[in-house]
């Protein structure tokens, strides 16, 4: 009950007229920043940071949190409408969001993303409110062995999918893992796979570049080919009736959404992971638990809801290690951390005791920011959808420009733009050959994390590989991984048995 009292006090701060205005401004700005490929919440927060010094610290953190949240919502917009991930965290949203838009369901997909983000954000904030302090200990329990086991589990959800060709999935994961080793070795500092001695490869291959290439450019190429005869204008309208129908449909997804929220929150909480892996894992889980996994990647609304709940939940989760351990869970929280040091707050285990007004003001503002974000987002959907009614010839050129800008902006290197072109062509060829692209992106996101934690765990235990099953948490994840890997076989056996028993009756 003490928590409720503290939270109520927090609300007293966050519901002041100044702070409500700050939330509205922050969320709207965040939405647009997130929707622009190449600009993510990191840029948003960095640009606004100086402004925060003119308001009191509690308002400042509210502004930053609002932008952070808004950008999380906004990232889905360009993923769905244009097939280019608006932010790295929205990569998984393109998998089904874009096919939905092509089927003329852009409005529905955007609603799904908004509602899912709201659910993910809200559930995780509630978890945060109740368990913030005890959960800090759980984050501490994650050492290298546990991290590795968790990542392994994420991979098996992608391998063990009933719908896709398992052989092709494994090929794509392997390719992604090879790409993930390009650059400087995390542990020894030695350069690896520097193709043609090009200096650009020293910093590795960013998964955002890969995603923009295979999804954004590859998509455009593919659409040009398929729509040669009919210059397709995506039919997209949105009426209130459709809005209502969309909300009703979301109602049925709530198992996926609650699962995605909890998963996202926990993965986001781990300092090494963050919102992008969380969204990908949630997508994989939703797909492997679905009765019709083959519909994923072809415009299944669940495939939008799963990553969107998880990435918002993870963005809340990653605030936890920042506040309680002083370790940021994502680039954006690292910036927030910088701000906190500036305001004279010492993040760490003592923060909740020493500065309760700050902590609870922040937590309560997450509730209001989330509510503001979903309302503003839904209000803007008709405008977003309207953009899709442009003739394809115009839209296509625009998408290509945004791909280039989105690839160039983060690193400011032409090297990445050329890579996008190469990946775009590769993505087009792979799609024609019916290879799944999602596992490729997943492997590049999780590969470095997996390799690093694997090696750290083994170094620490003198090469004893049993370390992964000797520790309880990691053993649990390994067991689940085996289960997910075997799931398709179990399903197959079950199907055969039901077939053989059916005629007997």
């Amino acid at each position: 009950m003490e928590i409720l009292a503290l939270l109520a006090e927090g609300f007293a701060t966050s519901l002041s007229p100044l702070n409500i205005m700050i939330v509205l401004i922050g969320v709207t700005a965040g939405l647009f920043i997130g929707a622009m490929p190449g600009l993510g919440s990191v840029n948003g927060v960095a640009i606004v940071l100086p402004l925060t010094f003119i308001v009191p610290p509690s308002s400042a953190i509210i502004l930053l949190a609002a932008i952070y949240y808004g950008a999380m919502y906004g990232g889905a917009v360009s993923s769905i409408l244009l097939g280019i991930p608006g932010a790295s965290t929205a990569v998984a949203t393109t998998f089904d969001g874009r096919p939905m838009a092509q089927k003329g369901e852009a409005g529905l997909a955007l609603i799904a993303a908004a509602v899912a983000s709201f659910v993910g954000g809200t559930i995780s904030v509630i978890l945060f409110t109740i368990f913030a302090v005890p959960l800090a200990d759980l984050a501490l329990a994650f050492g290298p062995a546990e991290e590795f086991a968790l990542v392994l589990m994420a991979f098996t959800t992608f391998v063990g999918l009933g719908g896709d060709d398992i052989f092709k999935t494994i090929v794509m994961i392997s390719l992604g893992l090879v790409l993930s080793t390009v650059g400087l070795d995390l542990i020894s500092g030695q350069p690896r796979l520097i193709f043609f001695d090009m200096p650009g490869f020293y910093s590795g291959i960013s998964f955002l570049v890969l995603a923009i290439g295979v999804y954004g450019v590859g998509e455009v190429l593919y659409t040009i080919e398929t729509s040669r005869t009919s210059p397709a204008v995506t039919p997209a309208r949105l009426s209130f009736a459709e809005l209502r129908a969309g909300l009703v449909r979301m109602n049925r997804l709530w198992r996926t959404m609650s699962f995605g929220s909890v998963l996202g929150f926990f993965v986001g909480m781990l300092p090494a992971a963050g919102a992008t892996p969380a969204a990908l894992m949630s997508y994989g889980m939703a797909k492997s638990m679905s009765k019709k996994p083959e519909t994923f990647g072809r415009g299944n609304i669940e495939g939008v809801a799963a990553p969107e709940t998880a990435n918002n939940a993870a963005s809340t989760g990653s605030l936890l290690p920042m506040l309680t351990l002083g370790i940021p869970g994502s680039p954006t929280t690292a910036l927030l951390l910088g701000g906190m040091v500036m305001w004279g707050l010492v993040p760490g285990p003592m923060l909740f005791i020493e500065s309760p007004d700050f902590v609870w003001g922040l937590i309560s503002s997450l509730y209001t920011a989330n509510l503001a974000a979903v309302l503003i987002n839904i209000a803007l959907i008709p405008i977003f959808v309207w953009a899709l009614r442009m003739p394809f010839s115009v839209l296509c050129a625009m998408v290509l420009v945004l791909c280039i800008v989105g690839g160039f902006a983060p690193s400011q290197k032409m090297h990445d733009v050329w890579l996008i072109a190469v990946f775009g062509i590769a993505g087009y060829v792979l799609r024609k050959a019916d290879y799944p692209l999602a596992p490729l992106v997943l492997a590049l996101v999780l590969g470095p994390l997996m390799e690093k934690s694997f090696r750290q765990a083994l170094i620490g235990e003198q090469g004893n590989i049993l370390v992964f099953v000797e520790r309880p948490l990691s053993a649990l994840f390994v067991a689940l991984s085996v289960l997910f890997f075997l799931l398709p076989i179990i399903k197959m056996v079950a199907r055969r048995r039901s077939k053989s028993t059916a005629p007997a009756e």
Binding site: P50, A139, P144, G189, Y202, S203, A334, G348, K452
Partner: protein, 326 residues
């Protein structure tokens, strides 16, 4: 017509004056016209990262720069990623890099095609300290307890730290030599992660900087055993130095800023001036005192000399460890 003429002649006079005074005035002439990228040679949450972000905040709070400063972490390969990146930015006037000692060690260990002498020195903000830490749940209270425990573990004692060949591993190697110890060294990608792994009992000891453990220390979760500083640290008055305990182990970490090769002189002057102002702010003075930093400012040729000396010191340490690259 008249007006224009006067303005032009005024400008000419100004230029002449600027030329006469020389470089100090040039700082006034040049201003960044887009956001300044602050490359950090380490991952998020470590000492270098926190400090760089603190500088960013100080600059923005006090309006010391007309353009925002954007910190970018490039911690891969013990900072090799950042060094390569800065090398590729030759002539750029909007990129600066926050350094730590891997600025010396990384190019010495592996040939990554970078000579730090090419970079433009901007400012040395501080020298940071190292402390030997254990989890507060452990029974170890003194250096003698510690040495005995590590010896008993027979090589399985897990010392966590930043990348191989980086500062933490050097301090670890110095300890191995001094006490005849053998560690299992587990590299992580940032001091913050190292600190967290000590508290979670995934590793047995660390040589974190004070700031990296401060939050946990204040919460009673970690215990300092001894410092590697020349004298006792103000923030830890009860913690003995290695030297007091009879072991000549002193190691500090420089926290400086450098710029790419061929950055225009006016821009170099601008950034030097900027950090000079930062070093004089109240916020920085307070932070340096709280976190046990030696905050003596250094710039220009003095700084370059300091950095090149540092490189020689590290060349010797690495040579002794057999870690020197070809």
């Amino acid at each position: 017509m008249m007006n224009k003429f006067t303005r032009r002649s005024a400008l000419a006079t100004l230029t002449a004056a600027a030329l006469a005074i020389g470089s100090p005035a040039m700082a006034e002439d040049w201003q960044p016209n887009k956001p300044i990228e602050m490359v950090i040679m380490a991952g998020q949450g470590g000492g270098a990262d926190r400090l760089a972000r603190l500088f960013q905040s100080i600059i923005q709070k006090n309006n010391l720069s007309n353009m925002p400063v954007l910190p970018v972490n490039k911690g891969g390969g013990s900072g090799a990623e950042a060094l390569r990146y800065l090398k590729d930015k030759e002539g750029d006037a909007h990129t600066i890099m926050a350094t730590l000692n891997s600025y010396y060690t990384t190019p010495l260990r592996t040939d990554i095609g970078v000579d730090i002498e090419d970079f433009n020195p901007i400012a040395r903000m501080a020298n940071d300290n190292f402390i030997l830490w254990v989890n507060s749940e452990s029974d170890i209270e003194t250096l003698d307890d510690y040495v005995a425990a590590v010896k008993e573990a027979g090589g399985t004692w897990k010392m966590g730290g930043t990348g191989s060949g980086q500062e933490d591993s050097l301090v670890t190697a110095m300890m191995e030599n001094e006490f005849g110890l053998e560690y299992t060294y587990v590299p992580f990608d940032g001091g913050g992660t190292v600190a967290k792994n000590l508290i979670g009992n995934h590793i047995d000891s660390t040589v974190n900087n004070p700031a990296e453990q401060m939050g946990f220390y204040k919460a009673g979760k970690s215990r300092p055993i001894a410092t590697f500083s020349e004298e006792r640290l103000e923030a830890f008055p009860d913690v003995p130095t290695m030297r007091e305990l009879g072991h000549d182990l002193v190691y500090t970490m420089q926290r400086s800023f450098v710029a790419p090769k061929d950055m225009p002189d006016a821009a170099v002057a601008y950034y030097t001036d900027l950090f000079k102002k930062v070093s004089e702010t109240e916020e920085w003075q307070k932070y340096a005192a709280d976190e046990a930093l030696d905050a003596q400012f250094l710039s220009g040729d003095d700084l370059q000399q300091f950095l090149l000396n540092g490189r020689e010191v590290h060349r010797n340490i690495l040579d002794g460890m057999g870690e020197l690259g070809s």
